[in-house]
Amino acid sequence: MVDAAKKILVLYAHPSQERSEINKPLFGATQQQEHVTAVDLYAEYPTFRINIDKEQQRLRDHDVIVFMFPLYWYSTPAILKEWQDLVLEYNFAYGANGNALEGKTFLCAISAGGSETAYQADGYNNFTLRELLHPLEQTASLTGMTYLAPFALFCARSAFDENRVHSHIEDWLRVLSALSNNTLDIALAKSLEKLNENLNTLIKD
């Protein structure tokens, strides 16, 4: 029996899109996907006045929640933090009656300037990307969501010149459709360091 396609909500946060080489085309391709609702948070809330009711309804309406952003100081751009602070309310996302997010899947799609070797215990960033995202992983855990490894592009500043953007987008679209068709190996996806290590074993046919 085939499950109904899962609905994916992509919350995209990039504060200077006119300079974006990775995230903007990535988001553009995401917008074209079936079963995906793609939200440009900075466009929708240029003054950071986030509509809490609207955002909570969006969360209720989807099965997979994605944060898509360039890594800023080992964390999300400010609006995504604002979004968490406002939308993930007591008795909505957590607390006695706060179970709206339970059973959903959460992951991040990230571009990082440093190389993968920099994001190691012995690299200059001292921690792996997954370790640095622990606050988000714990947020997912507290709200009852399944946390998947981040889909990440390293050395993002040179990706455009080295023609890595196209294949990165292709990989991302594969992940999106696997998420909505339920053909992604969730157990494996939870355990990886980054989601796009080996998509061929991760995605079942």
Partner: protein, 642 residues
């Protein structure tokens, strides 16, 4: 008097019937006028002898057109064109004259007659070509610009030609004319400042006339226009503009220069002026009507008797002229690297003979260079070649352009960006700020204001702005509303802002209208008129000031900002219901109470929203960076906040 009325009516009704029809059939307005002329002249015989007199009068349309062309050309642009002007234009006139002369010579004409014919046919029709370029939006294309350089050179070249023609007079024609000399002499007598002057004095007079135009245009016109504009009488501004153009034309005629050239020069001098768009909009209708009249007279002037008896030679010569000119032009286009469809546009658009041909012809007859019967035939060739020009444009549109269109698609956006993408009507306290924001972000704006002083002040700080009443459709048209992306209406007259919105949304539905509203009811009226975005001029600044008041009453600045935002959002959330009830109020008075109730309700909602934020308990969700409840802190170990 009655006869004049009847004639004017005939001319106008012919134009009114034929021109829209021709336009609808895709033939262009010029062909419409020409056909109207043929119908009322040689075919129906409604008009007759007066056409040649009228034609001289209508040629003033060409003078006005060159004034308008000059207005579009800043002196710097003219200087940049100088190589093309002299190279391309000079070669076109020279080569065409030589080839036509050679052929005429081969047919056994006297060399002086052959040379004159060459000169007559080397000129093209500024009137038809520029009018058609305008109509078809070809002015800014590569082909259009090059054609313009050539036309401008031709206008200059007419002057030495007129000087040369009397030297080519045929002795036998002079003898023949001796008998009629008495009447002819009377006819020739023209007012002139330069008649009988020696060469050096003539030079001085000509140079000082040009100096008067340039210096006067630069330094005297502005105070004059400002003085006239301050009277706020639009018809006096129109009178001033006409006075200027006619005055220059008169001056140029007096010193024996081409009036068209003189007004062109004046136009260039005024191209940087803040009154440019207003001048354009004032002169434009006169030019349009006079040019139309001119084309009608060309059509009406075709002598069917002469044509019928010489149909073979006339048609052969016409086609020959077009063929020779087009070939020369194509050759030049190749040399000057004009590419693709522009090459064809350049060659086909200029292949006809022009109105200056008529001028030269009548002048040659007067000076006994060409016999009258030959002049009549040549005059038909000129007219018919002009008649065929719209056909050449249609050939270009339907056959040549489609071939190149696919390969040229990548170049299209260049043309669109030529005019300002945003027109700002009114640059007082409000529009000025909008303009600064757009300009500092690299967007091209055209700024219009009806206060000459305001425009002058803005020009001092390098803001490109133009004097004129932005609610006048023709001014908006010359400012490029048809190509503009949006119009910012920031004028301070609420009623006219609504009228302007209505007009724009009706005539140019694709232009986005952003309007400044004086107050709430003005805002609703603007919305009803179709404005896309409206902002009450005081709303945001009042809220901002209110926020400062809150802050200084002890409210934390961040909280005060949130309250400001909530106020704004509540207002926005109710705007549609308020608007709907306002519409009913305006429909009848019975709903006034309802509207007032709506207002009171809005006030209540507002204060509820403000209080909600502060006092809501956990029975309803409190909003905004709210910590979890204290009593539950230990019970829900999930909570990380404290």
């Amino acid at each position: 008097m009655t006869a004049y009325f009847i004639q004017a009516f005939i001319y106008l009704s012919a134009a009114v019937i034929a021109v829209p029809l021709a336009k609808r059939l895709g033939l262009g307005s010029v062909l419409g006028y020409l056909i109207a002329g043929v119908v009322i002249g040689p075919i129906a015989g409604l008009v007759g002898n007066e056409t040649s007199t009228l034609q001289h009068f209508a040629e003033f349309g060409v003078v006005m057109m060159l004034f308008l062309v000059g207005l579009e050309l800043e002196p710097r642009m003219l200087w940049n064109m100088r190589h093309k002007l002299i190279g391309l234009g000079g070669l076109q006139v020279g080569l065409s004259t030589l080839v036509v002369m050679g052929i005429a010579f081969a047919f056994g004409f006297n060399w002086s007659i052959a040379l004159t014919i060459g000169m007559i046919f080397s000129l093209s029709s500024t009137a038809i070509v520029l009018q058609t370029f305008n109509e078809k939006n070809l002015t800014k294309t590569e082909g259009g610009k090059n054609a313009f350089s050539v036309l401008l050179f031709q206008d200059i070249a007419v002057i030495p030609m007129l000087a040369l023609i009397p030297l080519l007079a045929l002795p036998e024609l002079i003898e023949k004319a001796q008998s009629a000399a008495a009447t002819a002499a009377e006819h020739h007598e023209q007012m002139s400042l330069v008649a009988g002057l020696p060469g050096w004095a003539y030079g001085i007079v000509v140079l000082s006339a040009i100096a008067i135009v340039v210096v006067g245009g630069n330094y005297l016109s502005r105070p004059l226009f400002r003085y006239v504009a301050s009277s706020n009488l639009r018809e006096i501004f129109t009178a001033t503009a006409l006075m200027l153009v006619i005055g220059i034309a008169a001056l140029m005629s007096l010193v024996g220069l081409s009036p068209a050239l003189g007004t062109f020069l004046a136009g260039v001098v005024l191209a940087n002026s803040e009154f440019r768009h207003e001048l354009e909009s004032v002169i434009e209708p006169f030019k349009g009507l006079l040019l139309g009249l001119f084309f009608i007279t060309v059509g009406a002037g075709i002598n069917f008797d002469v044509l019928a008896s010489n149909i073979g030679p006339v048609m052969a010569m016409t086609l020959g002229v077009i063929l020779i000119k087009a070939t020369v032009l194509l050759l030049l286009a190749m040399i000057f690297k004009i590419k693709n469809s522009d090459r064809w546009l350049f060659a086909l658009s200029l292949a006809q003979a022009g109105e200056f041909g008529f001028v030269l012809l009548s002048y040659t007859v007067q000076n006994h260079v060409i016999p009258v019967d030959l002049a009549q035939i040549l005059s038909l060739v000129v007219a018919i070649s002009m008649f065929l020009t719209p056909g050449l444009f249609i050939l270009f549109d339907k056959v040549i352009l489609p071939r190149y269109e696919q390969t040229e698609n990548t170049r299209e956006p260049d043309i669109i960006d030529e005019k300002g993408t945003v027109i700002i009507a009114g640059v007082g306290r409000f529009g000025q700020i909008v303009n600064r924001l757009l300009v500092t972000n690299g967007f091209k704006t055209v700024v219009l204001d009806h206060e000459a002083q305001q425009v002058e002040n803005l020009r001092k700080i390098n803001t490109k702005s133009f004097y004129g009443d932005a609610t006048q459709p023709d001014l908006l048209h010359t400012a490029g509303i048809a190509e503009a992306k949006m119009l910012v209406i920031a004028i301070d007259n609420p009623d006219r802002a609504v009228e302007l919105t209505e007009y724009i949304k009706h005539t140019y539905p694709n232009v986005i209208v952003l309007a400044r509203a004086f107050d709430r009811s003005n805002l609703y009226r603007l919305r009803k008129a179709g404005a896309d975005f409206m902002v009450s001029e005081t709303f945001h600044s009042a809220l901002q000031l209110g926020k400062y008041a809150l802050t200084h009453l002890g409210v934390h600045p961040f909280k005060a900002e949130q309250q400001r935002a909530i106020f704004f959002e509540t207002e926005m959330a109710h705007k549609d219901t308020l608007y709907e009830s306002w519409k009913q109020v305006t429909a009848d008075d019975k709903h006034l109470v309802h509207y007032r109730d709506m207002f009171i309700q809005l006030e209540e909602t507002l204060s509820a929203a403000m209080k909600d934020e502060r006092y809501r308990s956990f029975s309803k969700m409190e909003r905004g960076w709210t910590p979890p409840p204290k009593e539950n802190h230990t019970a829900f170990s999930k909570s990380e906040a404290d």
